[in-house]
Symmetry: C2
């Protein structure tokens, strides 16, 4: 059951205390990311770990929902390669969810900042992180010690569930 409590405890955390995240924590989050399922085991992913304040400030300017990157202790850029797999978005998304869940388990908080498929955002991240052509930044994940508290929750909605076939509701 604990895993379900962990999953429901994962909330989007956008305010951080500034306490540094350790190298060991970063390593654990990356291990979690790379434990995600990957279609035909292609693992079409890569990760840029951004701690430098100036780099984070640049990422914070990507769009109006990325400002927290400047205040986080570390920002993970999750990057995928469409030439390696037609399922790169799914694989990289599962890896991202694992980072967020693992962060929650370590007492940290993070938030999924969408980049793909908006080209202007992708271009900003690509330029800042010097991501080569052929790779696409799916999202940014700012992570830090939480400076806000949110209760666990599910957003279970009965009307989203169908049995055996899709029934009009």
């Amino acid at each position: 059951m604990e895993i379900i409590q962990h999953i429901e405890a994962r909330r989007s955390i956008r305010a951080y205390t500034g306490q540094p995240v350790t190298e060991e924590q970063v390593r654990l989050l990356l291990e979690a990311a790379m434990s995600a399922p990957s279609a035909h085991d292609t693992r079409p992913w890569a990760f840029v770990v951004v701690c430098d304040p100036e780099q984070r400030r640049r990422l914070a300017e990507t769009h109006r929902w990325s400002a927290m990157a400047a205040k986080a202790s570390v920002v993970f850029a999750v990057v995928g390669n469409p030439a390696m797999s037609e399922h790169w978005v799914e694989d990289c998304s599962a890896a991202t969810e694992n980072i967020l869940l693992a962060a929650t388990g370590l007492g940290l908080g993070g938030v999924w900042v969408g980049i793909y498929p908006v080209e202007a955002r992708e271009e900003t991240v690509r330029r800042t992180l010097k991501i080569p052509q052929g790779w696409r930044p799916l999202c940014l994940v700012p992570v830090g010690y939480p400076a806000e508290e949110k209760p666990p929750r599910t957003r279970y909605e009965e009307e989203k569930v169908h049995h055996e076939i899709w029934h009009k509701k």
Copy 2:
């Protein structure tokens, strides 16, 4: 730390004992799914829960990697709506990863069977489950009690990790 152990314990399980999965377990897996992050909280997802053996047999014929749907106790079809969000694949993928992790935590096993973006596969699933136009089946998740054992693991690869900017490796 337990969350990371859970994440590494999630393996693709393709053989099942046939022991039934309970309604309560199905409900918990759906709660986990709907606890996934969703861009701008649009939740562009829906779930078809398939227990009927005949329906599962039809899903098993979708493609050559979907055969285990016939033997699972339950198959979840994760369905998304592109008109609701440009991030529907990411949101539905995070929900799928949550189903797989929650299944592991409940002593069950499952596997991610990709459907999107292959149109012929999508059409088979759409027809079988009577999914309306406008919604797209992202994947199938057969779930059951495991009849195979796989050890926990990460597939951490140092060469997939970059610091501050992308470095050629």
